[in-house]
């Protein structure tokens, strides 16, 4: 099944549930009408939260940059000795 169909199926299921709620009117209709808006807003909040948390915990590795500089220096010495042109860049 194409992935977009999976997502649509879920959306249809949610809408069916919502329409059911509207018809049954267990909760006051005025509340039920607002549910899709709550749904979209909470989805947006979830997204923003995930991005925010991801940003705060963004894994960084400054020590790797230093290690790389060492590797580069080592490689340059070896390559120069063996006739590989690593001069200008």
């Amino acid at each position: 099944m194409k992935h977009v169909l999976k997502i649509l199926t879920i959306l249809v299921a949610i809408s069916a549930f919502w329409i059911g709620l509207l018809q049954a009117s267990i909760v006051p209709r005025s509340h039920t009408w607002l549910l899709p808006i709550y749904f979209i807003v909470s989805l947006g909040c979830y997204g923003l939260l995930m991005v925010g948390v991801g940003l705060m915990r963004f894994p960084t590795c400054p020590q790797e940059a230093l290690l790389l500089q060492k590797d580069i220096a080592e490689a340059k010495v070896f390559l120069k000795q063996n006739g590989v042109d690593v001069g200008s860049d």
């Binding site: 995930m50 940003l55 894994p59 590795c61 790389l68 590797d71 390559l79 590989v84 042109d85 690593v86």
Partner: protein, 244 residues
């Protein structure tokens, strides 16, 4: 049979490195590959797209040093794009495994042993490097770059359920047959290409494992991907939603 070959250590790894204006980086990366893969049978396939900076000259010097059987230069006349560069390199690969990595040292060869080890332990069809787990990381990105990266990742995880944590990373080890199979169905270009590869592989049910890698932004040379990256990304995402 495959199992037996692995036990005897008969695996051969073909490392495909596409280059465009990487004369210094390619020499450094080749040195580091030889340094970190001592007891492994491998070959390096450089696919250079007619770089005007003389990348191919340097590769020839490296062939003198390490041997033409270890370093294969398979150039193309002009800049034809990354995706087709992999296809081109793959045609010349003689190993049963293929590694794809960038030349610009963002993909450090010191992680190659952990890719190989992970594959041998799990029998995975694909081992992909991820920056977003413990032990991984990125260096040299500004806030904007981090923000777009996180945003793109959350979007993809929410809508595509890809089953891997780092979609756009391109440091990966493939069984050769699997790469041949997946690459033939991929149509995207640019770095959506990497995302399409892994999503398709995951949909086809291939066993994918991850290893942590660190990513240091390029030190030498300049970036070749530019322009409207975000728009391209969103288009790619929509495309993958309806086709996979």
């Amino acid at each position: 049979m495959e199992e037996k070959e692995q036990k005897k250590g008969k695996n051969k790894y073909s490392i495909i490195i596409p280059t465009y204006n990487e004369r210094l980086n390619i020499a450094l990366v080749v040195y580091l590959i030889f340094k970190h893969l001592r007891d492994v049978d491998f070959e390096i396939i450089v696919v250079d797209d007619g770089s005007p900076d003389g990348t191919q000259e340097v590769v020839k010097q490296l062939q003198q040093l390490y041997g033409e059987d270890r370093i294969l230069l398979r150039p193309r006349p002009r800049k034809l794009g990354l995706g087709t560069a992999y296809v081109h390199g793959l045609k010349h690969a003689s190993g049963n495994f293929v590694v794809i990595m960038d030349a610009d040292l963002s993909h450090h060869p010191k992680y190659l042993p952990s890719f190989i080890k992970k594959q041998l332990e799990t029998g995975a069809s694909i081992v992909t490097g991820t920056r977003y787990v413990k032990g991984g990381g990125v260096h040299g990105w500004n806030l904007m770059r981090k923000l777009t990266s996180r945003g793109a990742n959350v979007l993809a995880q929410t809508f595509l359920w890809p089953g891997v944590s780092d979609l756009t990373g391109s440091f990966r080890l493939y069984k050769k047959s699997v790469l041949e199979d997946v690459i033939s169905s991929v149509v995207s270009k640019g770095y959506v290409f990497q995302m399409e590869m892994i999503v398709r592989a995951s949909r086809e049910g291939y066993h994918i494992e991850e290893v942590p890698i660190t990513f240091v932004d390029r030190v030498f040379g300049s970036s070749k991907l530019g322009g409207s990256e975000i728009v391209e990304y969103l288009k790619g995402l929509a495309y993958l939603l309806v086709t996979t």
